[in-house]
Subunit: 331 residues, 2 copies
């Protein structure tokens, strides 16, 4: 077999151990402004508090929490990036406040219920895709004091038909090309190797359609492609969400008053509120919005193309139920 070329590329970008990757997040200005304003704009809430940063990366959120007046910040980071975070904290003169721990948050040994505020940037594509919400819930249940606050405190998922005719058609063409390769392959296997592979044609077709058409695709959408009013398909309160709820939305009914011809794809995105907790509300509530109308964020939007061959005649309007899980695909 082989190790695969694309994997090198992916491992690089997906590895939080690279400054390069942390830098990409540090230059996402909507993201940065939301967290900065949520923390520094609510400094009174942070003053003299014990703060836990779940997945600290470069340590940026911990640095802001310290600047907001926190008594102590535990910056917990799993990868080697922890060493860089430590350097950065020191270079900014905050080493007496920020304690960088290289650890999975699940392996930390803090005193139970000793934390006033948890800060974390855990959100994945369309909120839950490859998100680390599980780890935040773990930290909340173990370390957050009763009445303590989470930043962010709430998150919502949105879903909307979008006009992406050209991209959809390109996907359909790519699917058709991949399917078309099969005939030559079947012939070659028989001619050169006397092996009959016809039995794999159907599974190959299913696999190709599944891969090409049912996997979510990253897009940076503009407002003009949005068809109709987005619906909120899930709303999470971080103060109370359970591990089970964090796995996905099993059943999200939606209906749009729209002819199917105008519905080449659905797009999903999220927003997050930084409202503090009921007993320690933020005075300046900040919202991080990743919708097409809000301008660029590195999250973009996740698009799911509608395969016209799968749409039954009976369906005249765009509607249905979408299971939206952490895998980034429609099932």
């Amino acid at each position: 077999p082989e190790g695969l070329r694309a994997a090198d590329y992916a491992n690089y970008f997906s590895s939080y151990a690279y400054i390069y990757h942390q830098k990409q997040m540090l230059t996402d200005s909507k993201r940065m402004e939301a967290y900065r304003d949520a923390i520094l704009g609510n400094a009174a809430n942070f003053r003299d508090k014990v703060v836990l940063d779940v997945g600290a990366g470069s340590g940026i959120l911990s640095i802001w929490a310290a600047k907001a007046g926190a008594k102590k910040v535990i910056a917990c980071e799993f990868t080697e990036m922890a060493a860089h975070a430590r350097r950065l904290v020191k270079a900014n003169g905050l080493e007496d406040v920020v304690d960088v721990r290289r650890s999975a948050v699940e392996a930390l040994d803090l005193e139970k219920g000793s934390v006033d505020i948890i800060i974390s940037e855990w959100m994945g594509y369309f909120l839950l895709r490859e998100s680390m919400l599980d780890s935040v819930i773990y930290a909340r249940d173990r370390y957050l004091k009763p009445g303590g606050a989470l930043y962010p405190s709430h998150a919502k998922m949105y879903w909307c038909p979008v006009a992406l005719q050209d991209d959809r058609d390109a996907k359909l063409a790519e699917t058709a090309d991949t399917l078309a390769e099969w005939d030559a392959f079947e012939d070659e296997m028989m001619r050169e190797h006397d092996v009959d592979v016809r039995v794999l044609r159907r599974p190959y077709e299913e696999e190709t359609r599944d891969y090409c058409l049912r996997q979510a695709q990253w897009h940076e959408l503009t407002e003009d492609v949005v068809q109709g009013e987005p619906v909120c398909v899930a709303a999470f309160d971080l103060n109370t969400i359970t591990l089970g709820e964090a796995q996905g939305v099993a059943d999200a009914p939606f209906a749009f008053d729209l002819p199917l011809e105008r519905c080449s794809a659905f797009a999903g995105w999220f927003d997050s509120d930084f409202a503090g907790s009921p007993s320690a509300p933020a005075s300046n509530v900040v919202t991080l919005d990743t919708s097409p109308s809000g301008g660029y964020t590195h999250w973009g939007q996740q698009c799911f193309f509608v395969d016209p061959t799968l749409v039954r005649d009976a369906i005249r309007r765009a509607g249905g139920r979408a299971p939206l899980a952490t895998k980034g695909r429609l099932s």
Copy 2:
């Protein structure tokens, strides 16, 4: 954070559970011919034998072993591809001989020493990169009868300077571009967020150089770029290789009588022999050659660029020691 776009692509291709990916291997004709001729061209060695296929994938090698007259073939495959292999075996009328087991070979429950021949296509880029040689050694030590044979039986790694000036220069330019982004980042972090990131400049430079210049790159080389005579830096006898030896080549001295100006990169590749075992030698010894002179295989060659800024004046000739491990990089 985010789940990353490139990762989708990589997971797809790297996943042996996809027919698409198995098909890519099944259409690598040099690979196919070598295995086919090694098995069917030595049918006398396979007749009435018990054969174990380590990492059976689509089951192609098992099908050939059955056609060569094996009494029984255990086709062991870890991924869901096992179900497709079972279908393929049946469609070719070989279900009485080939027993497909969905399992890691490490978790099989065969009788110890019950196998006459192990067949496996385990070779990674430059032989060892992400290879599954460990699993083959495991299977050999546990299941192969004394005097039993491995197909392939031998493998060699080769190393040679190559003229890839343009690719090297493109890499250097990419490195320079990535490094150049830092200044603006440093300014922005200070201006917008009052955070001093200068302490990370040096680690960022090291990381960038390491990533851009020291990672091996896949190339499909032609003979004309090869500079001088390739040297064999390792020769493995599968009958006797140990797990330790399979981890890489700690120290491979080489010397080429060549001015450094002509040496913009080194390329590595391998060949494998199918010679049977000393007590059951193949009568038709087949060699699978992945060198630049042998024409296309999906393995191509792995190229390591020479960074001129790292080459000390003192070195006038291309020579040194290369640790060549499973990670696909020079250390």
